[in-house]
């Protein structure tokens, strides 16, 4: 037990001695950095009796920071890549502005004002013509609308309303299909449509129309004698010509 106490005491004395030696060493070997560079003193931060190891470590770190600050200070006037680019861009813009200014300075005022006036006049004319055409077209449509008998106009409005409703239902179906994952991929659909023969196209439509034909015949919209002639290549009667591809 006594031997243990003795060894602990010995260790403590040696440690104390090492600290004293470090302090003396630190006092005789100060940091090479100028004191003015330090904002704070390491003795104030670490204390008078701090370990020499930590003091040395702190000193080296602060030295390194001071060195970095010095380097940064030296480079502060050297432009970075971004600054170089910015100045190049600004210079280019300035060069352009100068060039345009030079052109303006060298040309006569009358020439410039004539150009500007001409461009302005052209714009105004184009706009006026567009407005004139638009108002004329609207006027014609309105005049026709007013000239129609009221009963006829009601019928037309009714058909247009039905059309809009049908378009709405069509859009709704499309939207529902869009969310249906199992449906056909658009590319495959386009490929099929490109390959489908006119005969199949007509046959399909005819068969499809037959389903709803009775109602439409009752309404008097579709003709009673509707038939499909698959042998025709062209259809041209009166003003309405159409080639079957």
């Amino acid at each position: 037990m006594n031997r243990l106490k003795q060894s602990i005491n010995t260790y403590r004395q040696e440690r104390h001695q090492r600290k004293q030696d470090a302090l003396i060493d630190y006092a005789h070997n100060p940091s090479p950095r100028p004191l003015d560079d330090l904002k704070t003193d390491d003795k104030e931060i670490l204390g008078e009796h701090s370990d020499a190891f930590f003091r040395d470590r702190y000193r080296r770190k602060t030295d390194s920071i001071v060195e970095k600050i010095g380097k940064a200070e030296d480079k502060k006037d050297i432009p970075t890549v971004r600054e170089n680019f910015m100045s190049y861009r600004n210079n280019r813009a300035q060069v352009k502005i100068d060039r345009i200014n030079a052109k303006i300075d060298s040309s006569s005022n009358s020439f410039l004002s004539r150009q500007i006036n001409r461009q302005r006049r052209q714009t105004v004319n184009v706009l006026a013509t567009k407005n004139k055409i638009r108002s004329h077209t609207i006027g014609k449509i309105e005049a026709k609308r007013k000239a129609r008998p009221e009963e006829l106009q009601k019928k037309i409005d009714n058909y247009v309303k039905e059309k809009v409703d049908a378009m709405y239902r069509k859009a709704l179906r499309r939207e529902m299909r869009r969310h249906d994952v199992g449906r056909l991929n658009p590319m495959k659909r386009a490929e099929f449509l490109a390959k489908v023969t006119p005969e199949l196209r007509k046959q399909l439509t005819r068969q499809a129309i037959l389903n709803v034909r009775k109602n439409n015949i009752k309404k008097g919209r579709l003709g009673m004698d509707y038939r499909v002639d698959n042998t025709l290549d062209t259809r041209k009667v009166g003003d309405y010509g159409r080639t079957i591809e």
Partner: protein
């Protein structure tokens, strides 16, 4: 008259044409309807159904009709809508026809 549109319908919206022009307009209407309907039918099908449909190119009309009714449940609605859209377009442009 062998066109799809009835002459009485055209007359009801103020379109009075002679027989030839009326037939031509009707056939033009039919062609446009063909294109739109086929596109809508194909849109409704999946890949397998599309392959099945391709086999009907030279098949008989009755089988095709049956197949369409079975595989395109919204067929009636599609046709009705396409007809209504086309009739509406004709009615809208009745002054220019």
């Amino acid at each position: 008259m062998d066109g799809l549109l009835s002459k009485s319908f055209l007359a009801s919206i103020g379109i009075n044409l002679d027989d030839d022009k009326c037939t031509a307009l009707s056939q033009h209407y039919e062609d446009t309807l063909n294109e739109r309907v086929i596109e809508q039918i194909v849109e409704e099908l999946d890949e397998n159904q599309l392959n099945e449909l391709a086999h009907y190119r030279n098949g008989n009309a009755e089988n095709l009709q049956q197949w369409l009714v079975t595989n395109v449940p919204q067929l009636d609605e599609i046709i009705e809508d396409e007809i209504a859209i086309l009739l509406g377009e004709i009615a809208e442009n009745s002054e220019e026809i």
